[in-house]
């Protein structure tokens, strides 16, 4: 059976070039913090990787802190700036943070956690396309705001937020600004200095690197309480023996992403638009969720009225097609997507929305295959649906 993977926002296959360096590095086992030659060999590779990641986002190598992924990066910033809910030296400005209602759970749930510990949190709304209004950010600023955290590209609908404008507001008010760029890095140009962000989260497995490794960008001079303390690794900002293999993989993935991004960006945008247009032509009553143009290249979140997403997902899976109904980490829940609800999409339609996220392995043939298989499935399920019948 043909297998078509269109769930690249959940995770990506490892790039062949990354696989190659991983295989080559399996016996590079020294502890990068050891002072003998085994350690030095590991250290050199770790620093090469740091430079690659820095280059991808226009940072200095010493501003890159390796960690275990996007969730850790996001937890780190929200907890570390608010010092876990306390007014400490870092958050001397106060204990109010501004975020949005469409953030990834690794921002939202931590915001709720620190909220329960006494931090004041503003969750900004979004418009029908999932866009955050910079004016809304400005209005939410208070004297005690210490952090603004707004995601770069939304993982479910792909909407790209006006990060540069929001960072400008943060800077004007002297507030630390963080962006969860897990879905943006490697797909669209991201430059920490052009953007003016203080912290930026990225993750290896969304850019064809290994899972369980990521990096947090920490602008020089910005202070933050470590989430994981202990040894002096990562400039004492993140304890734990360096994940050499993962870091090398992430470094290579960053290098490859920088190289392939311009071409892939164009190619995936065309592919994804072809997919949506093809589906819209073949299936009645579909809707595109997310911004029509200001959107991540490979992402198309499409609603099919009268049917429920998991059913479509499983039927597609039976045809070898992998997509998702939302973010993988929330899809065990029965709630409709918080992102779609925040965009004002009715719950019953949110239930019937599917995320197609295309990646470097997808081809025109893959899109054609989905265009062939999906319409009859939706038709089948609609035949079964009392909501459709009622029409």
């Amino acid at each position: 059976m043909r297998r078509v993977y269109m769930d690249n926002n959940a995770t990506t296959p490892i790039h062949p070039e990354v696989m190659e360096v991983l295989k080559e590095s399996l016996d590079l086992y020294g502890n990068a913090s050891s002072h003998h030659s085994f350690g030095t060999e590991a250290r050199e590779k770790v620093e090469e990787a740091r430079a690659s990641v820095a280059r991808l986002i226009g940072a200095q190598p010493e501003e890159i802190v390796f960690n275990s992924g996007g969730s850790e990066g996001n937890n780190y910033v929200v907890k570390g700036v608010t010092c876990e809910g306390r007014a400490c030296s870092i958050s001397s400005r106060g204990n109010h943070i501004i975020t949005s209602s469409i953030e990834h759970p690794s921002v939202l749930n931590v915001a709720k956690c620190v909220e329960s510990l006494g931090v004041e949190v503003t969750y900004l709304p979004v418009d029908q396309y999932g866009l955050i209004d910079p004016d809304g950010v400005e209005k939410a600023v208070k004297d005690n705001t210490c952090l603004i955290s707004i995601m770069f590209g939304n993982n479910e609908v792909g909407t790209i937020e006006p990060i540069e404008e929001i960072a400008e507001i943060a800077k004007r008010h002297d507030i630390l600004f963080h962006t969860d760029a897990v879905q943006a890095v490697g797909k669209i140009p991201v430059d920490v200095n052009k953007l003016g962000v203080d912290f930026l989260t990225l993750s290896g497995h969304k850019i064809y690197g290994p899972k369980g490794v990521g990096a947090l960008y920490v602008r020089k001079g910005r202070k933050i309480c470590p989430l994981i303390e202990g040894g002096h690794q990562e400039m004492s900002l993140r304890a734990g023996t360096e994940n050499t293999l993962g870091i090398i993989g992430l470094g290579k993935a960053a290098e490859v992403a920088a190289k392939e991004m311009p071409g892939e960006r164009k190619r995936l945008t065309a592919l994804r638009d072809g997919l949506y247009e093809g589906l819209a032509a073949r299936v009645e009553e579909t809707r595109l969720n997310g911004h029509p143009t200001q959107r991540l290249p490979g992402t198309a979140n499409i609603g099919f009225k009268y049917v429920e997403g998991e059913s479509i997902l499983l039927r597609l899976d039976m045809e070898g097609i992998a997509v998702s109904t939302g973010s993988a980490c929330t899809s065990d829940s029965l709630e409709p997507s918080h992102v779609l609800l925040a965009m004002g999409i009715p719950p019953e339609e949110a239930h019937g929305s599917m995320r197609f996220s295309l990646g470097r392995e997808n081809t025109d043939e893959d899109v054609d295959y989905v265009l062939e298989k999906l319409p009859p499935i939706v038709q089948d399920l609609r035949q079964m649906s009392p909501l459709y019948a009622k029409k």
């Binding site: 499983l314 719950p347 239930h351 009392p386 909501l387 019948a389």
Partner: protein, 129 residues
């Protein structure tokens, strides 16, 4: 979330899917906002379930439990059908993931609602005679 082979089989090839033209009873439970709506149609003959069909908007578990419940009650006396518990439906499907157990409730509830509808119609008809 791992479904049993039986769930997947009923999901892929649902039995008794559709409407009954002139049903003796119809039960509808669930709510589109929660992502599950189940509609069960029954035809009753001599206090037995002569025919049963379903329409479902929902996940694989919702569809499979609907299908399974129709199979389980087809041809059964109403009283016996009413005794079919949510648990029994889930068991007949070789189990459901914990988070999906509520779907088996829905299926059992839809059946009860359809029979209730039949009975209330019947007593209304009897009364109007």
């Amino acid at each position: 979330m791992q479904y049993s082979a039986k769930v997947l089989e009923h999901f892929r090839n649902p039995r008794n899917m559709g409407q009954i033209e002139d049903p003796d009873g119809v039960g509808e439970v669930g709510n589109p906002i929660c992502g599950d709506v189940m509609k069960l149609y029954v035809k009753i003959d001599d206090e037995k379930i002569a025919d049963v069909k379903f329409e479902t908007f929902g996940c694989a578990a919702a569809i499979a439990t609907s299908s399974m419940v129709t199979e389980m009650v087809m041809g059964k006396p109403i009283d016996e059908a009413l005794k079919i518990s949510a648990r029994a439906v889930a068991q007949a499907l070789d189990g459901l993931p914990p988070i999906k157990m509520h779907c088996s409730n829905l299926a059992a509830d839809a059946l009860k609602a359809a029979i209730k509808d039949y009975r209330s119609k019947k007593s209304a008809a009897a009364a109007s005679k």
